[in-house]
């Protein structure tokens, strides 16, 4: 079975937010709801400074803290490794938001549940890629199967020594970043 993941090259990200808008479009979100965020980090002082855009979304952790703490067991992992939510079981206690170290879960006030990025698994199962990956004008994002050593994703991670964010938090995230 495939184990899907993402790789993001922040050296190419220009902070256009197209991935954020595409995601909102794909999932029918409100203007003030989002499943991914573009964080900014500035280092150094003029004239030697660097401005970095870092897109962040659910890492679909293999050891997801949100899944561990959900009291209604509404959070489950699909066979492809996507961390997902049963919308009819979630009661909106928001414990998963407090538990997520990356703070990438949001409350959907229309349905009263907590949702997040689900890697557009319906598009993927039909042979496509997540909306954020397809939309990016700079091809910052790489989507693929982590278990396949010949996939573009695995090659990208190996070639650029991409690392997940805060691997020390021991959640085993599945989004890898090339940041330099």
């Amino acid at each position: 079975m495939s184990r899907y993941g993402l790789a993001i090259d922040t050296t190419k990200c220009i902070g256009c937010h197209a991935c954020q808008v595409a995601c909102q479009n794909q999932n029918g979100l409100d203007v003030n709801q989002q499943f991914n965020w573009i964080l900014e980090r500035e280092r150094g002082k003029s004239p030697s400074f660097d401005h970095e855009f870092i897109p962040v979304q659910c890492n679909h952790c293999e050891s997801a803290p949100c899944q561990r703490v959900c009291p209604t067991a509404a959070i489950y992992t699909t066979p492809e490794g996507i961390v997902s939510v049963h919308p009819e079981r979630c009661v909106g206690c928001k414990y998963c938001i407090e538990a997520c170290p990356y703070k990438v879960r949001t409350v959907d006030h229309h349905r009263g549940i907590v949702t997040k990025c689900w890697l557009c698994i319906d598009l993927v199962r039909n042979g496509g890629e997540p909306a954020c990956v397809t939309t990016c004008p700079n091809q910052v994002r790489v989507f693929g199967d982590l278990d396949d050593p010949q996939s573009r994703l695995s090659e990208f991670i190996a070639e650029h020594r991409a690392q997940p964010l805060r691997a020390d938090l021991n959640t085993r995230p599945r989004i890898y970043y090339k940041r330099s």
């Binding site: 962040v56 414990y95 703070k103």
Partner: protein, 294 residues
């Protein structure tokens, strides 16, 4: 990034449940250790515990989203024994009825109460275990996740339990004053209880804040918010001065001048302890900051 999803409803629940659990323990302690002269306090504690935790639980349910609009979803809440909330639901479902039954039994209210009078000791044992679990589980719940480094320490349940016992005693004393204002003289004995509980709470709070300053960057950010940052007026005025130091001083005076203090100062000291307890819970929840991921 949604940094903090828990607001005033959760803070109110933490405060009310802690105070209710503490009031129960205070009532049991009075009934077992000093049944003759502390009867009013035992009565008050037992009568306040159930309603307090019940109102707190209502606040908890009101904070749910889909679980409030479609209440039948709440049946799922006990599905995951790895989750602190599941344990909390189990503990609260047991503690609230036991607390009400204990109030009925100890004070012989209604036929059920009169029947249960002979089982008071059993209710005290079971209820105390449930009360301590109630006071502790909320601390454990927020301590086991690394999503908020400020909360991720074993000192968190200790702090919550110390605060619960302290506010519980204060509630029991206020209740005793309501039942019979002339018991204020006897309540002076409990000044020693206040001194001890407030000292323990102060010590745990100092430890917690100091350890937070060195534990991790994000914990230090939150701790600094409390000590010298945006939340510092609330921390120093509401939690430290009004919530701990002033009641401590008043209790000291009360203890040594047995019964000579004006009644309003005794009750006032209890109210200040409650203000401090609520402010402490609010500041802990509101100052949460996530790990720095980039």
């Amino acid at each position: 990034m949604v940094e903090n999803a828990w607001g005033w409803l959760i803070v109110t629940y933490l405060f009310l449940a802690g105070a209710g659990a503490g009031a129960f323990v205070a009532a049991v302690a009075c009934d077992l250790l000093a049944p003759d002269w502390s009867k009013t306090l035992a009565q008050a504690g037992s009568l306040a515990a159930g309603p307090l935790v019940a109102v707190g639980t209502v606040c908890l349910v009101l904070d749910l989203e889909a679980g409030l609009w479609q209440p039948w979803r709440q049946i799922y809440l006990v599905s995951n024994l790895s989750s602190g909330i599941t344990w909390g639901v189990i503990v609260l479902s047991l503690f609230i009825p036991v607390a009400f039954l204990y109030a009925a039994a100890l004070n012989e209210i209604t036929a059920v109460g009169r029947y249960l009078k002979k089982y008071v000791w059993h209710l005290e044992v079971v209820g105390s275990l449930l009360a301590v679990s109630t006071a502790a589980y909320t601390g454990i719940l927020i301590a086991v996740v690394n999503g908020v480094p400020f909360w991720n320490t074993p000192l968190m349940p200790v702090l919550f339990m110390a605060s619960a016992m302290s506010t519980g005693l204060a509630v029991a004393m206020i209740g005793a004053a309501i039942i019979d204002i002339t018991t204020i003289r006897t309540l002076s004995n409990f000044a020693l209880g206040h001194i001890i509980f407030l000292a323990v709470e102060a010590l745990v709070l100092i430890l917690f804040v100091f350890m937070s300053l060195t534990r991790s960057v994000e914990a230090a950010i939150s701790a600094n918010m409390l000590i010298s940052g945006v939340l510092s007026p609330y921390f120093w005025v509401l939690v430290v001065i009004l919530g701990i130091l002033v009641p401590f001083a008043l209790s000291f005076v009360e203890y040594y001048e047995y019964g000579a203090m004006p009644k309003y100062l005794v009750v006032g000291a209890d109210l200040l302890v409650l203000v401090g307890g609520m402010s402490l819970r609010a500041l802990i929840i509101l100052s949460a900051s996530p790990p720095q991921v980039v």
